[in-house]
Amino acid sequence: MTDVTLYHWEPNANSGKPMLALFEKGVAFDSHYLDLLNFDQHKPDYLAVNPLGTIPAMTHGQYVLTESTAIMEYVDEAFDGPRLMPADPVDQWRTRWWMKFLDQWLAPSFSMIGWSVFVGPSVRQKDPVELEAAIDRIPMPERRVAWRKAINGAFSAEEMAESQRRVALGITYLEQALGQREWLAADSYGLADINGFNLAYAMPLSQPQLCNDSLTPNIMRWLRAIYARPATRACWALGRTDLARRISLLEGEPA
């Protein structure tokens, strides 16, 4: 029995952050998989849990929590298990700085590329009338705009170029930071790594010309070290699509 339920999609991006944090803490939880491409997150059953229709969401007893990065901090504080926020106050600051940088600067650029090459084409085959009705059910206006753009392939060439510019720069920043210390924000594995891994695990596949053993050895070392953790294996085993299966590329040894 557990009093924790996590509503999530694939172990990837925002959904994967609290999933992996729960596995690292050793917290048992009921996994409630929502198929993002089938708009499960905008259906009445889920809107009764999270009226905003964003994923992930977590319930713990009577509490309902949203915002993946804030949920991770909660998971670390509310449950026993290994500490995922470093003890040193400067390292705590650095952890939060990186999570914000990833959440607000790098992740939106990755997701613009990801949505245009994966999410948009995946849902575009559905009946247009049904699709429009599904979009109309999305509670947050910002998310309605995002879905329309993804489905219509309406990202401008300028927007896509800016996203690609940020992805390339972001990779150099990660490489630089991981050249300074073993983990992203501190000398111990923690929340910034969990956040970053969810964004970066497939980079060697999606951005092979920018992220590889010769150009970014520290990123590759870091990704492989996280992939080797039992919690990561257990977490990615909850994936159901090719998106999550991309993680297997980390099985290879350095070239």
Binding site: E77, Q92, W93, W97, Q104, M112, E142, A177
Partner: protein
């Protein structure tokens, strides 16, 4: 231990950090800089990645034993950890999640709207030299040229209205502070909204609870001390380019 705070006028992110430091009795070497003149980009300050790529844009920089740190809410969390004054965050994990989620809303939705409206109302004179981040430099160029997208301005005004409504709702049960006890959420919300009374007055047309909350906040000695550092009559009217408006809309 030497702790240096480079800060602008007590408005926006500089206000949050100054007031948090005073609430927590943290001893700081205060160094006022002109954020609107771009002094944060001068060689007088350290320029690690975390300064040059701060999501917050033109905010304060806290240097602790050579480590330069940015982003006001996280600086306030740091000061809360190291200072001796009463806690600025709830101890209970769920209450703390509520506070962090509230701050995230302010950081991500309110602050970009405020910065957009703020620089549109008082454009900076010139783009400073030495800006490392190309996207921040782009926001400076737009601000100096007075280039503002009408749709973004309209949406930003709407976001100020929504933020005041959210505060009214939160205070409706008669509480003094947003999270019950005084916290970083109060400082960060006031920091960004104080200057909006002059720019979006309609948002405050019927906000008695927010008005009383602001008055309570300004009456706190630490807040008064922070506001007392202003070198202009209206620090809440001073804006430099801030966080960008979400590219996804």
């Amino acid at each position: 231990m030497t702790t240096i705070l480079y800060h602008g006028q007590p408005n926006g992110p500089s206000f949050t950090v100054l007031a948090a430091a005073f609430e927590k009795d943290v001893d700081l070497d205060l160094r006022a800089i002109d954020l609107v003149a771009g002094e944060r980009h001068s060689t007088a300050l350290p320029h690690p990645l975390e300064v040059d790529q701060s999501i917050e844009g033109e905010g304060p920089v806290l240097v602790v034993d050579g480590v330069a740190m940015t982003d006001s809410v996280f600086l306030a969390c740091y000061l809360d950890e190291v200072g001796s004054g009463p806690a600025l965050r709830p101890a209970d994990p769920y209450a703390r999640w509520q506070m962090m989620a509230w701050c995230r809303y302010v950081i991500e939705r309110v602050a970009p709207a405020v910065a957009c409206l703020g620089v549109a109302s008082a454009p900076p004179a010139a783009v400073p030299a030495g800006i490392v981040s190309a996207d921040l430099e782009g926001r400076w160029r737009d601000a100096v040229a007075g280039r503002a997208d009408d749709a973004q301005l309209t949406d930003s005004r709407a976001k100020i209205g929504q933020a005041v409504e959210k505060i009214e709702t939160q205070l409706a049960d008669g509480r003094d502070w947003l999270m019950g006890n005084f916290s970083i959420a109060d400082l960060e919300s006031y920091a960004w909204l104080a200057g909006m009374r002059g720019i979006v007055p309609s948002a405050f047309a019927a906000s008695p609870l927010t008005d009383a909350w602001e008055a309570r906040l300004r009456a706190r000695p630490a807040v008064a001390r922070a506001l007392g550092l202003a070198t202009v009559a209206h620090p809440e009217a001073i804006w430099a380019p801030g966080p960008e408006i979400n590219r996804w809309g």
